[in-house]
Symmetry: C2
Subunit: 329 residues, 2 copies
């Protein structure tokens, strides 16, 4: 494995595809445009909170790295981002979240009703855009992935019983919930390439996506919040069981396990409880273990790229692995 | 126009396609099957509360009446019913309904979370089934309709401001919310037929669907409940403005309009308020007007059928108009 690049930023990943990303944003705005006032209003907020365009970036880089040009890439990238937005809107509604990336969520700004309907609206717009491409292949990929993500969401609902939730189930959860869409983004970039390149990019995206979610779950245990200077522990607060805890649970003393069980039964655990369980998980090696798994997945993603012809885009995809491993929120 | 058949029941409409409807149910069960326990459990409830299969019945009859056989009809009918189930699950979640057809809703039995995710699951299963047919045409129809229905749901959210809600907007609402899926069912039955037959069936379905919703909205004003012996007035209770009220509003005295406005501002209007507004709407001719519009739409649906070759299925589709006009809940 090559030496990882230091200090990879999203901007550095996007530099080479910036003009194409502008086209994707244009497609996105065109696609969701509606003459219905409430929909336009919600769209306005959604496009404002519009995120980092990480999935469209992967799709465009994958297309360039696949060795086969596809004039539909920008439109496919818009479909991927639309689908991503739809899942965010429904997730926030399911979780009753009030903030996302520092902006109020649709359910907070409007209502639960508007969130459910707006998520459906975005999904159906994605489908309409797909049918306009006159090709069943991207529809097959997206229908499969959309279904997989809903199963992932169901798994998430079940991930609240710590003693019953295994690493195997966690893997299934993060594959379905997160990796499936990143993998689809990479695969959709390679629809015009050979089976070997398409499969390599699909596998690259899946391992990158799993690493992405593991890093996200780790940040909840490690990243200091600006106000408190302590890790947020939000997952623990919401009784969500992620990899660090799953690993630690088998290695805790009975007394420490009982502390975890108490937290999981407390409707609103206080900061002392949270800090204490974070410390227990760290001592039992849960954080190191999760970091190690993220690293191994990153190596797998890197190896998948070796099957592609050398190109600047392939090296930027390699940099995206470093970006995923090193990122902060 | 022919003399309407007396006493048409759903069973009489379905008699000729019963063996095919069994195949549709089989397809439906196969399609939603999941090895994930929570999904199977929710499916169990959904298939139990499974409704009258009116949309699949229309699709199968439309296929027979179109003059062109389509071996995919049962699978398309399953897709239509899956999509219908998905909208019911999300509608019940949006409305916080606890009962549907006398059975507890998914949000009541499980949770709001499960409803949102399960609706997404059913939509995505419908998409997966469609991609398996290897034909873009039914995908185009379903993507368009799914999008239209979400816009209809948004319109529904806006239909709570009585003085601002016009008959024109009501028509747009019922077309999008109800008629679009019934129209799609009829159109999907005619995919292998000529453009003339396909268009006739699409128009038949649209007018039948609009009549269907008008009758539904009328029943809220007219059908006596078994316990109270009075109309339910549930739409008024939830501040939903439908055709009888829209027509009446322009014809009420200022004092009567003020009574309506008061009801619409009362969070939980009592039975006296409801009965009083129902009486005002009836006196102003709102019920007669809505019946008349239902009748005119029914005639339009009937005329659309004249463009099809004569067949027993065509006559059964004519009977379905009577069924829609005469039905009780």
């Amino acid at each position: 494995m090559r030496t990882p690049a230091a200090g990879v930023t999203l901007a550095s990943l996007q530099a080479g595809v910036q003009p194409r990303l502008e086209k994707v944003k244009h497609e996105l705005r065109r696609s969701v445009a509606s003459d219905f006032p409430l929909i336009s209003e919600v769209n306005g907020h959604l496009l404002q909170m519009q995120g980092k365009m990480f999935r469209p970036t992967l799709l465009l880089l994958a297309e360039e790295a696949s060795g086969a040009q596809d004039p539909r890439a920008e439109r496919l990238a818009a479909v991927i981002e639309l689908t991503h937005l739809a899942t965010l809107v429904h997730d926030d509604s399911v979780d009753h979240s009030v903030l996302r990336r520092g902006m109020p969520t649709i359910n907070a700004l409007f209502s639960h009703q508007v969130s459910v309907i707006m998520g459906d609206y975005l999904y159906s717009r994605a489908m309409v855009e797909l049918t306009r491409l006159d090709d069943l292949e991207p529809m097959r990929v997206m229908a499969r992935v959309t279904n997989e993500m809903t199963v992932g969401e169901m798994r998430q609902l079940m991930a609240h019983e710590p003693l019953d939730f295994s690493e195997y189930e966690y893997d299934l959860l993060i594959k379905a919930k997160t990796a499936s869409l990143l993998s689809a983004a990479c695969e959709l970039g390679a629809l015009r390439a050979g089976a070997r390149e398409r499969d390599a990019l699909r596998r690259f995206g899946e391992q990158l996506g799993m690493a992405f979610q593991i890093v996200d779950d780790l940040l909840d245990y490690t990243e200091q919040e600006t106000v408190t200077g302590k890790p947020s522990g939000n997952d623990l607060r919401e009784h969500k069981v992620t990899l660090p805890l799953i690993y630690a649970l088998d290695r805790l003393t009975p007394a420490a396990r009982a502390e975890v069980a108490t937290l999981m039964k407390t409707a609103e655990p206080d900061d002392t409880q949270i800090s204490r369980v974070i410390a227990l998980v760290a001592e039992a090696g849960g954080l190191d273990y999760a970091r190690g798994r993220g690293q191994r997945l990153a190596e797998g993603a890197d190896q998948a790229l070796d099957e592609l012809p050398p190109s600047p885009a392939r090296e930027t995809l390699r940099d995206s692995i470093t970006y995923v491993l090193d990122r902060r929120r």
